[in-house]
C-alpha cells in the first residue's frame, strides 16, 4: 500500500499575513509614497506610530517589485457638493499584503 503524502508526519506550513498600507501622492500606484503603516501577522515585529523617518519604498510600484501584492485601492470619489475645498483623510490609500511562513504558532491570547 502506498503512503498518502498528505498524511505524512511533516507539519503543514503555517502562513501569516503581513500588511503594508501606503499613502501615495496621486491615485496612480506608481506615484510617490507619502505615508506608510505596517501590521505584522507573524508577530516578529511590532510596528507603531512614529517609528520611522523614511518610507520603505519610493513608489507603490516599487513595493510590487519587492513582492507585495495589492489587495485594495482607495476609490476615486467626487467631493461632496459644497465641500469641494475641504481637506480631510489622505486620499490615495493602497493596502498590500505578503504571506510569510512561520515556524511556530503562538497563541496570541497567551503568548505561549
Amino acid at each position: 500500500m502506498t503512503a498518502d503524502p498528505r498524511t505524512d508526519t511533516a507539519p503543514a506550513p503555517v502562513l501569516r499575513q503581513q500588511v503594508l498600507v501606503l499613502y501615495l501622492s496621486t491615485s496612480a500606484l506608481d506615484s510617490e509614497v507619502l505615508g506608510w503603516s505596517r501590521y505584522d501577522g507573524t508577530g516578529r515585529t511590532s510596528p507603531t506610530t512614529g517609528d520611522g523617518a523614511e518610507p520603505p519604498y519610493g513608489t507603490g510600484l516599487d513595493a510590487l517589485k519587492d513582492g507585495w501584492r495589492l489587495i485594495q485601492a482607495a476609490q476615486l470619489l467626487p467631493p461632496h457638493p459644497g465641500h469641494e475645498y475641504d481637506v480631510s483623510f489622505l486620499k490615495h490609500e493602497f493596502f498590500l499584503e505578503r504571506i510569510e511562513r512561520i515556524e511556530r504558532v503562538e497563541d496570541p491570547r497567551t503568548g505561549a
Binding site: 499613502y23 501615495l24 506610530t49 520611522g52 480631510s88 483623510f89 489622505l90 486620499k91
Partner: protein, 271 residues
C-alpha cells in the same frame, strides 16, 4: 529683568498658521524646569472647564510662573488674545520602556471653526531625546477635517516631526494638529505638561504686526509639506489663505490666486 510679554511677529504667526504649531526652544529657565519635575510628578490640581486664566492658578503657583515667562506669555497673547479661558490641563507621563505609542489623533472632537481656534501649550521640562519618545506631530495637518483618533491608521508620514528638544521648550499647537505621544524606549521617565486655552476675543491682529507685509510672511504661508498629496496640497494653501484673511481682516489676501480664481463670478453684463 524685563517681564513684559514678547509678542510673536507676523512671520512667526504665519508659520503657526501654516504648520499648526510654534516651537519656543529652551525659553523656560533652568530653576523652573527643575521645580517642574517635582511638581509634575505630584500632578497639578485640576481646574473646572472654562476657568478664566486670571482665576485658574494662584500667582505663586508653578503654572502661573510658567505662563509668566515673557516668550510664553507673548505667544499665548498673540495666538488667543488677552483673558483666555483654561479649557483643561493635564500632566502626561511616559514611563521608561513602558507604554505604547498613542495613535495619531487631534484632541477633543472634530472642530472646524473657520475664524477661531484653541491652542494647546505643551511644556517639556527636561531634554527630550529621540529615544524618549517625544511628541509626534504632523506639520500642516491642523486644517484637515478628521475626528480624534480616526487617523490612527497612519503610522508614519513624510516630514513628520518627532520632537527632540532642549529642556524648557514650549510648543503651542492649533487644536486640529495631528499628534501623539511616542513610545518611550529610554530609561528616563518623560514629562509633558499641557494646557488648552479657549479665546474670549476675536483672533484678529493680536500679535506684533509691524512686519505684516514682510515677504517672509507670504513665504511661510506658502510652504509645502512632504506628506501632502499633489492635489490636496493646493487645497491646503487655499484653506490657509482663508485663515489668514480671518486673522488679518484682509478680504483680498491670497496665495498664487488659489482663492481669487475660484471665487470669480462676474455679474456685469457686456456693454
Amino acid at each position: 529683568m524685563d517681564n513684559e510679554p514678547i509678542l510673536l511677529d507676523s512671520v512667526r504667526m504665519a508659520r503657526f498658521v501654516a504648520r499648526g504649531s510654534l516651537r519656543l526652544d529652551a525659553v523656560v529657565p533652568a530653576d523652573l524646569n527643575a521645580e517642574a519635575l517635582t511638581v509634575l510628578a505630584q500632578e497639578v490640581p485640576p481646574v473646572p472647564y472654562g476657568t478664566p486664566l486670571a482665576r485658574a492658578y494662584a500667582p505663586d503657583s508653578f503654572p502661573a510662573r510658567l505662563l509668566a515667562v515673557p516668550q510664553v506669555a507673548g505667544a499665548l497673547r498673540s495666538l488667543v488674545g488677552p483673558g483666555p479661558l483654561v479649557d483643561h490641563h493635564a500632566v502626561h507621563v511616559r514611563e521608561p520602556r513602558g507604554g505604547d505609542a498613542q495613535p495619531l489623533h487631534a484632541d477633543a472632537i472634530i472642530d472646524v471653526r473657520p475664524d477661531a481656534f484653541d491652542v494647546q501649550l505643551m511644556y517639556y521640562p527636561q531634554e527630550v531625546t529621540l529615544e524618549m519618545g517625544g511628541t509626534l506631530s504632523v506639520p500642516g495637518s491642523h486644517l484637515r477635517r478628521t475626528n480624534e483618533t480616526d487617523t490612527g491608521r497612519y503610522q508614519n508620514l513624510r516630514g513628520q516631526d518627532r520632537l527632540v528638544c532642549p529642556a524648557g521648550t514650549v510648543v503651542f499647537v492649533h487644536h486640529g494638529l495631528w499628534h501623539g505621544g511616542r513610545r518611550n524606549d529610554s530609561d528616563t521617565t518623560r514629562y509633558m505638561f499641557k494646557i488648552r486655552f479657549n479665546p474670549t476675543v476675536r483672533q484678529r491682529l493680536l500679535w506684533d504686526t509691524s512686519d505684516l507685509h514682510d515677504p517672509r510672511v507670504r513665504a511661510e504661508l506658502d510652504v509645502h509639506f512632504p506628506w501632502y498629496e499633489q492635489a490636496t496640497g493646493r487645497l491646503e494653501r487655499y484653506n490657509r489663505a482663508l485663515l489668514w484673511r480671518e486673522l488679518t481682516g484682509d478680504p483680498d489676501f491670497d496665495l498664487d490666486h488659489w482663492v481669487t480664481r475660484v471665487s470669480n463670478r462676474p455679474q456685469e453684463a457686456t456693454a
